[in-house]
Amino acid sequence: MTAVGAQAGRPASRNNPYWLVRQVGRGLLAQNVLLALALVFLVLYLTLNLEFFFTSTNLLTILRYSSVTFVVSVGFTLVLIGGGLDLSIGQGMMIVGVVSGNLHLAGVPLAWSFILGVLTGVAIGLVNGLLITKLRINPLIATLAMLFVLWGTGFLVTKGRSQRIRDDSFKFARQSLWGIPVPVFFLVAAAVVALVALNTTKAGRHLFAVGGNPEAARQAAMNVDRFRLGMYAIGGLFTGVAGVMLVSQQGLVAPNSGMNREFWVATAVFLGGASLSGGKGSILGTLLGVVFVTTLANGLVQLAVVPEWALIINGVALILAVAFDQRPKGGYR
């Protein structure tokens, strides 16, 4: 019997002397490598142009701010990989902060204020998931609607006023341990948990499957809707933790603390290689994306660039990231 698929086995191009060159070229084109290079150039530029950029204080500040954004971005990434989208993360973080802060101000024990805050995030994720899987509302619409509802609720509850929190133990995220800002420990924990779950467990494998080809997942006897419901809840869990970190860091219950956060997160995560079409994305890419976006913001402030420019640059970066994702396989013609 002839060997089945003989002509389709090893790529014939292996014999091509340029094979290796091309492989290296393709590797260089990998999104994360490009992003890492861009980050290196950004850091170099800022170091050369700013007296106080490459100082341990400033770098730790960048890391501290990256941590909050990263934790919520992990949730955003997981949801994107599973073929979903959650635009309500910024306002979700704000509500989580309002819940935690107000419970604390009302005298609820610290741990419970934080736990109930995190659970608020999970609940928001669950409602998003139910709207999307049961009522069959498009994720963009469902979570955009959720964004508005949470935003309005936040202003109603706080009557539009910010409230300062005096208790230092509430502001644990401002502290440092062994010289490392506390939020960085959250960053590491979130990264490790997500990396392991995504790459070594059946749930992670199925997340890629459900996002990559939901129809095929159904035919493989997966319960796609139940899986996605759980996925939004877990996304909400990360929103909850990030929300608690944020309110603790700011020491302020503020109804505008979630504003525009989803844009920065989306830019970071899309830069990191995730895709709106699902089934694609990585924790490492998201980490790079978050550090890049935070460093950029930090640098722009120090360069005394008007903040409007930050928005514009953010928009351009978002377009670049998505265009890179959509690039035709055979290159542009």
Binding site: M1, G5, A8
Partner: protein, 297 residues
């Protein structure tokens, strides 16, 4: 802790060596073997699968009307017919993804229900869809094992993947089926059409010990000549291990060379059942174009 496979390795005949002796290899049925539909073999056994009086409408469209078809053990049955003749609908009914309005199925003479895809799978019926249902973003081994991953330490979705074991078993499976794919670590998205088709076939036959019927909807539709020949070769290989195969195709010569018998469908009805060994392409085409239900054997 292997959660997903209580029977362990032996549950995967394609990985072990239990497969070959399962059934004697069947020759193509000779011309003397009358291609009747209520077929009884010399020893009086009945066909593996009997489809009786199956009808299905979608709104005003009558996709299937009182179709009777037999599938014999170890045979390749071709189904041909124009676009919209009802071929895919018939297969989906057997595979349990479409419910018939009327009619019933028997397997080995016993009435069976294929109300869901899972029920059909339990009976040993696997279907490869026209779009293959592969995950382009996952590698070859992940595709073969999807939904049936080997895991350890924690139950259900929390289980840790035994990646190395799955790659090893996937490679063994491909080797056993004589499928040559460079590495089981390649994402399926980069494979050629023929390789994708072969991964889909390998996945369909890989697991259940009791896969008896393989349904294939136009497996060579999108393939070039060489690639479709390799896929046909794989289908023959699978059949030689004792499975019954139903294959839909628009390429008449291909069906005649591959199948034992050919069913011609037209406007939701079976208009003819031809013996592949003795019929001709002209005859087939003639039945597709001018066949009348009830006129054939």
């Amino acid at each position: 802790m292997a959660v997903s496979h209580p029977d362990g390795l032996s549950a995967r005949p394609w990985v072990g060596e239990t497969l070959l002796p399962r059934l004697p290899r069947l020759r193509k049925s000779s011309a003397a073997d009358a291609p009747a539909d209520h077929w009884q073999s010399a020893d009086g056994s009945r066909p593996l699968l009997e489809i009786r009086g199956v009808s299905r409408s979608f709104g005003h469209v009558r996709a299937l009307h009182e179709v009777d078809i037999d599938l014999r053990e170890g045979e390749i049955l071709g189904i041909v017919g124009d676009n919209g003749a009802g071929k895919s609908t018939l297969m989906k009914i057997i595979a349990g993804t479409v419910r018939p309005d009327a009619g019933h199925l028997t397997m080995n003479g016993e009435p069976v229900s294929v109300a869901t895809a899972l029920a059909a799978r339990r009976l040993g019926i696997e279907m490869i869809y026209q779009d293959l249902a592969l995950f382009d973003n996952l590698d070859v081994a992940a595709n073969i094992f999807i939904g049936r991953e080997h895991t350890r330490w924690l139950p259900l979705l929390l289980g840790f993947l035994e990646k190395r074991r799955m790659h090893k078993e996937a490679a063994e499976l491909l080797k056993r089926l004589n499928i040559q794919i460079g590495s089981t670590r390649q994402p399926v998205g980069v494979l050629s059409g023929g390789q994708r088709q072969m991964v889909a076939i390998a996945r369909a036959v890989a697991f259940e010990k009791n896969v008896k019927v393989l349904l294939m909807d136009e497996p060579s539709a999108a393939l070039g000549a060489t690639e479709s020949e390799t896929v046909l070769e794989l289908i023959r290989e699978i059949r030689s291990h004792g499975l019954s195969i139903v294959i839909i195709s628009h390429r008449i010569p291909e069906v005649l060379s591959l199948a034992d018998r050919v069913v011609v469908m037209k406007r939701g009805e079976r208009v003819a059942t031809l013996d592949a060994g003795s019929t001709t392409v002209e005859e087939c085409v003639n039945q597709i174009v001018a066949g009348e239900a009830g006129a054939a054997a």
